[in-house]
């Protein structure tokens, strides 16, 4: 569905990384939850970021117990739940964004339990039909994901697994084998949320992963400013910004689009 129905899923993500690489920059992947501050406003925010040059999206599915998230995303997804957002509504959101002309790859980001309740096969089929390209499940490590990976393969959806500073070489290789989209590299030990400083040992960590992994690396957790974004070129293939954009989203799509434009500009070469 991305690229006007030309390529989708794994191929759409590969094309996204290729394009960024040709431009000698890191791809910019914003995170935004469906339903914050309202359903319509979240679509407006994502569309504004698409127009500001974002390369792809993590579309957040709200969950009552988001244990990998810090206060900003916890509060926003709680509002989304109070707004009546369901898994089905998040799939509608993807479809609506495609209709609005958003062509960038979109990955749904959901904790495992809502996917299990919806039914993994049904979810994968409906996500694909809505126009999603992949799925990210933060509480599903590769060891537990055999059936899920199979389902995603069947539906043509890209899978993403995580690496953290605590992951050893064996786990880097394991994750590298399992992902079909990219490796989500968590910059620090912790939960999501804007941080003033990126961790000092980040380059060493990325170098260690690079030596053992050939899949695209996308850095997330803690990145919030254009200054931090500027350091991503040459370090990783892409980066994710979540909490900072969610904070901006409180005041509507305008500020989100503006921050997204500055983050995108920061990696322009």
């Amino acid at each position: 569905m991305a690229e006007m129905g030309q390529v989708f899923g794994i191929k759409a993500l590969a094309a996204m990384f290729d394009r960024a690489k040709q431009q000698r920059r890191a791809a910019f992947l914003p995170y935004f939850p469906v339903g914050y501050p309202t359903y319509e406003a979240s679509l407006d925010a994502i569309q504004a970021m698409a127009e500001a040059g974002a390369d792809g999206f993590e579309i957040g599915v709200p969950f009552s117990d988001p244990l990998a998230d810090g206060p900003t995303i916890q509060a926003a997804t709680q509002v989304a739940l109070e707004n009546g957002i369901t898994v089905g509504k998040c799939l509608d959101a993807v479809q609506a964004l495609r209709r609005r002309g958003v062509i960038q790859p979109m990955l749904l980001m959901s904790y495992l339990n809502p996917l299990l309740a919806y039914g993994p096969e049904r979810f994968a089929a409906d996500a694909r039909a809505a126009g999603a390209d992949g799925v990210i499940v933060p509480d599903l490590p590769p060891e537990e994901a055999e059936a899920w990976s199979e389902i995603c393969r069947g539906a043509g959806l890209a899978t993403v697994f995580f690496l953290a500073p605590t992951s050893d070489s064996r786990r880097v290789e394991l994750v590298n084998r399992h992902v079909t989209g990219f490796i989500y590299v968590v910059s620090l030990t912790g939960v999501t949320g804007a941080r003033a400083e990126l961790p000092p040992d980040l380059t060493g960590f990325i170098t260690r992963v690079r030596a053992l992994a050939d899949k695209p690396l996308v850095l997330g957790f803690g990145i919030s400013t254009p200054e931090q974004a500027r350091t991503m070129n040459g370090l990783v293939d892409g980066f994710i910004v979540g909490s900072a954009l969610v904070k901006a989203g409180k005041d509507g799509a305008g500020p989100v689009g503006a921050l997204a434009a500055r983050l995108r500009e920061a990696v322009h070469v």
Binding site: D65, S167, T189, G190
Partner: protein
Amino acid sequence: MTYIQTSTTPVPDERGYFGEFGGRFVPETLIPALDELTAAYHAAMADPAFRQDLAQLQATYTGRPTPISYAKRLSEHLGGAQIYLKREDLAHTGAHKINNALGQALLARRMGKQRVVAETGAGQHGVASATASALLGLECHVYMGSVDIARQQPNVFRMKLLGAEVIPVESGSKTLKDAINEAIRDWVTNVRDTFYLLGSALGPHPYPMMVRDFQSVIGLEARQQIVEMAGRLPDACVACVGGGSNAIGLFHAFRDDENVDLIGVEAGGRGIEGGEHAARFADPNLGRPGVLHGTRSFVMQDADGQIVNTHSVSAGLDYASVGPEHSYLRAQERAYYTYATDEEALAAFQTLCQLEGIIPALESSHAVAEVIKRAPGMPKDSIILVNLSGRGDKDLDTVMRELGLNG
């Protein structure tokens, strides 16, 4: 000094599965920490010195073995089965939670982790963690929902006296579920130097196994004691089930005794129909297999997979999921699960006070409530062994309010 063997058995498998339940569903950051913990746990249990340290603390600090008491007046009053109480309320700090807290705190020290985080619902696990940390010189931080802080004030004060920091949790339902979320977030952040001292037989592998093993001392003692006192094994073992640690601790020693019924009692709250309860196994509308806090088990959730708020008069049973081994024992039809409502638990609380001179925890009162229902229909020569998991001092405010005895 008696050396109490802590048992280990083939479930769970290497990946932490009890049949289709269990496993490890946590962010990547924690997987290496869980691997490290599993290895350290196995090494410790294989080390006679560690087991000796634990056995010595159980005997000289906790006051183990705890006795079993024959509940003569209660048995006569009910007119059926003979009732025996396993007296975990007499363990130091007033509940079975100390068995697990001491085991894990010893393990934390052995692993060189100086900082301990814990969650607590009723406050009993928080008190046990604070106690074990004080004893072993560890730094202890306890997450507790603000709703639970309000209803378990004495335990909050006890934790502070014991030198622990109590951190109020304001997210979600502000109860045990949310305290676990925050404890996990803390652990993810400080994983390198922090030990997560989880208080029930739930969470990602190896916790359900490890907590069961540390609690299995309850059943090992009780099995021997009932044979000595009553001359034979009981017909039924009854325990309340929050996360499921006191129940699995009692059941484990009896798992191969086919003639012993194992009965777990969940919190029926204000009744199953209205959904205001924590009876994960009794309400097919809400309780279904799912994943919460790192493990696959029965979870109270809405149609969309969102975890629902639970209700129980007892904070320690007020939790949306249940340890995976209980889901497994139920699927195997080895154990049977029922529930008692708030009202039934409060009535049982008073009955035990008046007939036996024992003030039970509201959690344990749920198990007593099931005994009150079950015993009259059983023959006079039958035997029920009930786990009195804790004492009720912490619950006096709640009981006074519920019974309208305030002022």
